[in-house]
Every structure is written in C-alpha cells, then in structure tokens.
C-alpha cells in the first residue's frame, strides 16, 4: 500500500473511495452479532448469492445497537427502502436473497428497522 504523504493524498484517496454503491447486504459482525450466529448468516449469504450468481455485495459491519435483535442484516436494493432484518437465521437469509434481492419484495415478520 502506498503511504499517504500529504493531506491532498488523503483527500484524493477519499474521492476515489466514495463511489456510490447500491446493491449491498451488511451483516453485523461484532461480538453481539457473532454470539447470536452472524457468522453462519454471513456464510449462508455469501454461499447462496454465489450459487444464484447474484450481483450483490455481502459486507461485514459493526454493531448497530439493536443487540436484542441480533443477528442483524441490513439490505439496500434499488427501488426499495433500506431495511434492517433482525433475528436472521439461515432460512431468513435465503429468503432475503430470493425474495428481497431477486424478487424486490420485503420479507415479512423480520424487519426491525428502517434506515432512510
């Protein structure tokens, strides 16, 4: 990695990195999430999205704060509001891919928060 040797370097780097991104799924992978089974959910999402050849980024993130509803999965798909699914298990993870990402319909009974 090249060192950033001035403030201009940093600003340039930031510009490069700030590409608008749309289709992504984020899994909360801090202690609270991992304890509730986030690793399994993450692995399922990665595996199943690959199987289906989906154009979606599966990412990791920290704790959102809603520890009571871990594992949390946040989904942003064009044309749909950004929602946070809670208490996600393998089954819901697959539903999120099939119904939300591919079918553009939100999944019932699992939405815990709305990020606008």
């Amino acid at each position: 990695m090249a060192k950033l040797s001035s403030a201009q370097d940093l600003a340039k780097k930031k510009k490069e990195l700030q590409q608008p991104r749309n289709n992504w799924v984020k899994v909360g992978m801090s202690s609270c999430g991992l304890a509730a089974g986030a690793q399994e959910v993450y692995d399922t999402l990665v595996e199943e999205s690959r199987k289906r050849n989906m154009q979606i980024q599966i990412q990791k993130c920290g704790c959102q704060g809603m520890c009571y509803a871990e594992p949390l999965v946040e989904v942003s798909v064009e044309g749909l509001p950004v929602v946070v699914y809670g208490r996600v298990n393998r089954e819901t993870a697959v539903k999120i891919l099939d119904k939300h990402v591919a079918g553009k319909m939100l999944v019932n009974d699992s939405v815990f928060d709305l990020n606008t």
């Binding site: 930031k14 609270c32 990791k60 920290g62 959102q64 704060g65 520890c67 009974d109 939405v111």
Partner: protein, 580 residues
C-alpha cells in the same frame, strides 16, 4: 418512483397480537381496489414505536399512523396510498430520539477496512489538525465543545489535555482506557469493534495536542475481537502513513501500541492502569500527583476513555460550537448507554445529554419485557446507584444523576422491574466490588467485606434492628477514607438503595419478608390445591424430588427438601404454585 409499501405492527405487547388480522384486512381492501400488485403489505417485527395500538407506516413518504382501527383501513388506503395525503387524526408525530456521533460509523462501515473509514470522512480531522491547527487551537476547540470525560467522572477533556500539555517533559504519553469493566456495560467494546479507526484518529489528535509521540491502548483481554480489530486497524494506519513518522508529510510523528489488561476491574482506575502498563501489580496510588504531571514511567500522561476519543474527530470536523449546541447547559454532546436488564429492547442507544430516562427506557427501549411496572433504573455500574421510578422524568446529565445519588458512569443502564429485590441487587454490586478490591487500603478491603456480610445476613433473614445504622456508618467511612475511586464509590449502591428503598430493607429485617419474592431464604413455595389440576408437570420439573403426593390425593411440596429454585413455579401452566 419507489413502490408503495405498507408496514404493519401491533405495538400493544400485553393483548393478543393483531398484526396478522390487519395484514389480511389491508390485503383484502387493496384487492378490492385492484391495487394488490402495486402495493406491498408487510408485517414487521418492530416499528420503533411502542404502546400505540396497531401502527401503520406508508412508504416511501413515511406517514406513520397510530391506534389504527379496522374502520381506518379504507381511509388510509384512500388518502395515503392512492393520493399521498395525510390522515391527520391518526398521525403520530415523532422526533427521532437518538443522535449518533460516537456511533456514527458503527454498523455502517466495515471495521476491518480503513478505506471505508476514509470514505466516511475518516482521518479528515487529523489532516485538518496537522496542517492547519496549533496544539493550542485543538485544545481551544475542545474547550468550546464542552466535551467531558465519558469514563464516568465527567472531567472536562480540554483541561486534562491542557494540564498534560503544560507539564514540561521530553516524553509524554496518551493512553486510551478501554478496560471497560462495569457489569452490563459494553459501549466501548462496540465502538472498538465497530469503528476502531475513529478511536485511533482521536488518539493521534490527542497526541498532537498534548505533545506526545507515543500512545497506548489499554484493552481488557476479555475483549479478544476488539483487540484483534484494533491491532488490524493500527497496522492499516501504519501502512497508510497515518501512524509512524512524519504523518501526512508533517513533522509530527506518533506511535501506537496495545497493552492488554489481565482482568482486574481496578485497572480501569488511572493510576492502577498505569502501574499495569509498566508491568507492575495493578494497584492504585494516592493522587496527586495526577497523571497529567507524573503518569506512565513518571512522564506526563493523558488518559481518556474510548468514547471520549471517538468524539474528537467529529468535534474537529464540525466545530466545538456545533458540539456544544447539543445537550444541556453543563453536559454537552451525546452519551452512549448500554441499555440492559428487564427492558424489551436491550442494546446500545446514543442520545443527546438531557434526554429523560423515560424516553430512553420506554420510547427507545420499549418498556419492560414482562410488561410489569418499572421499579428503578441503575446507572453507573458498581460505583453508581439506583434511580427510582419517581425520577424517570429527570433529564440525564452528569449533575442531575449526581443529585439523585447515582453517577453517569461509563454508561451502563440496567432497568429493574417489580420482580427485582433491592437488597439482592445491592448484594450483587457489592459482591462485585469485594471481589475486585485490590486489598491495598483497609476501608475498601474490610469495609466492603463487612457490608457484604451484613447484606447477606439480611437477605437470609438474619438481619437485626441495628444493621441499617451500621451499614450507613461503614458506607460513609469507605466513601471518605478509601484510596481510589473503587473503594470510595463501592458503597454507592448501598447508600442509594437505602435512601430510596429503606422500607424494603426493613421488611427483610423486621418481618423477614422479601417483597419482590427474590431472596431465596425468605420465600416458600406451596401448591394451591384449588387450582392444581394434578398434571404432575411440577413433579417432573423438580430437580430434587421435593414434591410428594399422587394424582388421587393431590400434591404437596416438602419444605425441608425444597431448594427454592422456582422451577415448579415457572413450569405450572395453571398458576397453582404459590410463592410467598
């Protein structure tokens, strides 16, 4: 245009859930209007609103309606779904209660990626400081912000930095205190795990301001993931030249390293923490001299809490004035709380200072799990106290909590309902402090032990009339004579519960009764024959075979065998077990 979506959730937790009924009703109505393909109806698990009946939210406009009745369904679809108009009389107007400064990136960026942090304005504050600020100006900015230490005591951060800056020495240090040990508090862990770079950036800026070229993270070893992520983040920052020599082409150099705490609560106290980093036994020493004069290896040292440091970059970027516009007169900015205990939505909340406990517990936390009333809220961990329900409308800031006999502390907030016994809770906190006392000074070592002994006796039904007087005396002695904060505040939970719930103590001592039915020695279980259906579920669940009798003659509990575990009470579907 985005598709219309209708969110539905029944927010009354006590009655039967009507979410599905309304879901079907909405679907039927939409079908009647021929809209079923254009609108999605969604049952959500949580809508962020509590005790408002059936709540309906229409997206993308986001109108939120509360206490929706069957008759309103048609109206909502006519106005809000077909025409984007608001149904005024059902509208819930709500201001967002939370404000995220410290947790700005937590749950948003990938903590393992410095690139995502940079894309989210990361290290911009560092660049601004290094290339345009004098150290004095950084301290000026912090003074304007009014930021106070988030570790608990609330000492103004700018003063701490200023003292350290003014101490003359070739070498100075900055330490990040991540030895978070209060039971039920995990704000710092979440920040370290979710946004490690924000703390690192805060430390580099702190180093610049006080004139230090070395910094240490002191993280408790019980946080392996936090340690892993901080180590990774430090390495990434070195690779980018954001740590090390000549940061961003300036002549400022700064190195950062991690030290692990070996699991002693007292090492969160700054002088004990310093001893621990130096490789000595982690015991506190009397202050002064304060670490800002003689700290790590005798050099001036500034020690800041994780949350304090996570605020720094935001303050530099948006200005001290902006920060000071949030909060109350004397407590600025926001505070992160770890909301736990008998609350429905336990988790991390970040609210502006001055938010009331009621807002935090009911509007964000959703009230109690059991639906029972709240008895008290405990803040400040083992150094704090309880705030009874009469004071739930107090705006939370450093001064107000102190006035109520508690403290802000690092941000643990434990909600207790009517099933919690104050003597029991106090015993727990005191037991924690007795365990963690380093034993160096007598008031804490002996006082704590004696207090715990007395509380144990009271909870076992052996309390005597003079006990409360004695407890008060010992508490006072500990508060005045202990060497460090741990001992001085260890009796806080005792004095605060004694202050608000003296009658409960008396009940234990004089009538040998525990009003909350929590203290094992003071309760008995029995079977109410009138209600018992003789299903034998209690017999099956009893781990010590203390339930005798048979289906013909009925069952009874043999009190000499009973260990009072409460299994039968929980297992009985007919509420036929009496606990008294």
């Amino acid at each position: 245009m985005d598709k219309k979506i209708i969110f539905i959730k029944d927010t009354d937790s006590q009655a039967a859930d009507r979410t599905r009924d309304f879901y079907t009703a909405f679907l039927d109505q939409l079908r009647e209007d021929g809209l079923q393909d254009e609108v999605q109806v969604l049952r959500v698990a949580d809508i962020g609103i509590y005790s408002q009946g059936v709540v309906v939210k229409v997206l993308p406009a986001g109108m939120t309606y509360g206490k929706v009745k069957d008759a309103d369904i048609k109206r909502i679809i006519e106005s809000s779904v077909k025409k984007d108009q608001v149904v005024e009389d059902l509208l819930l107007k709500r201001e967002p209660k939370q404000l995220r400064i410290v947790l700005r990136n937590c749950g948003v960026i990938d903590p393992d990626s410095i690139d995502e942090y940079i894309a989210a304005d990361g290290y911009a504050a560092l660049a601004k400081v290094i290339h345009g600020y004098t150290p004095e100006k950084v301290i000026e900015e912090l003074k304007a912000s009014g930021l106070r230490g988030r570790g608990g005591a609330g000492y103004p951060t700018w003063m701490k930095w200023n003292f350290t800056r003014q101490s003359k020495s070739e070498e100075k240090y900055i330490i990040c205190n991540a030895d978070e040990g209060d039971p039920g508090a995990y704000m710092d862990r979440s920040v370290l795990e979710g946004d490690p770079h924000s703390v690192i950036e805060g430390m580099i800026i702190a180093g610049f301001a006080i004139g230090a070229s070395n910094g240490f993270f002191y993280i408790r070893a019980e946080y392996p993931l936090a340690v892993e992520r901080i180590n990774k983040a430090i390495k990434q920052a070195y690779d980018y030249g954001l740590l090390g020599s000549n940061i961003l082409g300036s002549n400022f150099s700064f190195d950062l390293d991690v030290r692990l705490g070996a699991g002693a609560f007292v090492c969160g106290e700054e002088t004990a923490l310093i001893a621990s980093i130096e490789g000595r036994r982690g015991t506190p020493r009397p202050r002064p001299p304060y670490p800002s004069r003689e700290g790590l290896w005798g050099k001036p040292t500034a020690i800041n809490n994780v949350e304090t440091l996570a605020n720094i970059a935001a303050i530099i970027l948006r200005g001290g004035k902006w920060f000071s516009s949030i909060g109350t007169e004397k407590s600025k900015g926001t505070k992160v709380f770890a909301l736990t205990g008998k609350v429905k939505n336990s988790g991390l909340v970040e609210v502006p200072m001055g938010t009331t406990l009621r807002d935090i517990v009911f509007d964000i936390g959703g009230g109690t799990i059991s639906g029972k009333g709240i008895k008290a809220v405990q803040t400040g961990g083992p150094s704090g106290g309880v705030i009874p329900k009469e004071y739930l409308d107090t705006p939370v800031d450093y001064e107000n909590l102190q006035k109520l006999g508690s403290i802000m502390g690092s941000g643990g907030m434990i909600v207790m309902d009517e099933d919690d016994c104050m003597v029991d809770i106090t015993k727990f906190y005191l037991g924690f402090c007795v365990d963690e006392s380093c034993g160096k000074c007598a008031p804490c070592r002996l006082g704590g032990y004696q207090l715990l002994g007395m509380l144990t006796r009271i909870s076992e039904g052996h309390g005597v009339a003079g006990d409360l007087e004695k407890i008060r005396k010992i508490s006072e002695a500990m508060r005045k004579a202990s060497l460090c904060g741990l001992g001085q505040t260890a009796s806080n939970p005792v004095s605060s519960t004694l202050n608000y719930f003296e009658s409960e103590y008396k009940e234990h001592i004089l009538s040998k009764k525990c009003p909350a039915h929590k203290c094992k020695h003071l309760i008995t279980y029995s079977i109410m024959q009138g209600r018992c259906k003789r299903c034998r579920v209690c017999v099956m669940n009893c781990p010590v075979n203390a339930i005798g009798g048979d289906r013909e003659t009925g069952f009874y509990i043999e009190l000499d065998k009973c260990i009072k575990c409460g299994k039968c009470f929980e297992a009985c579907k007919f509420s036929a077990i009496l606990k008294e």
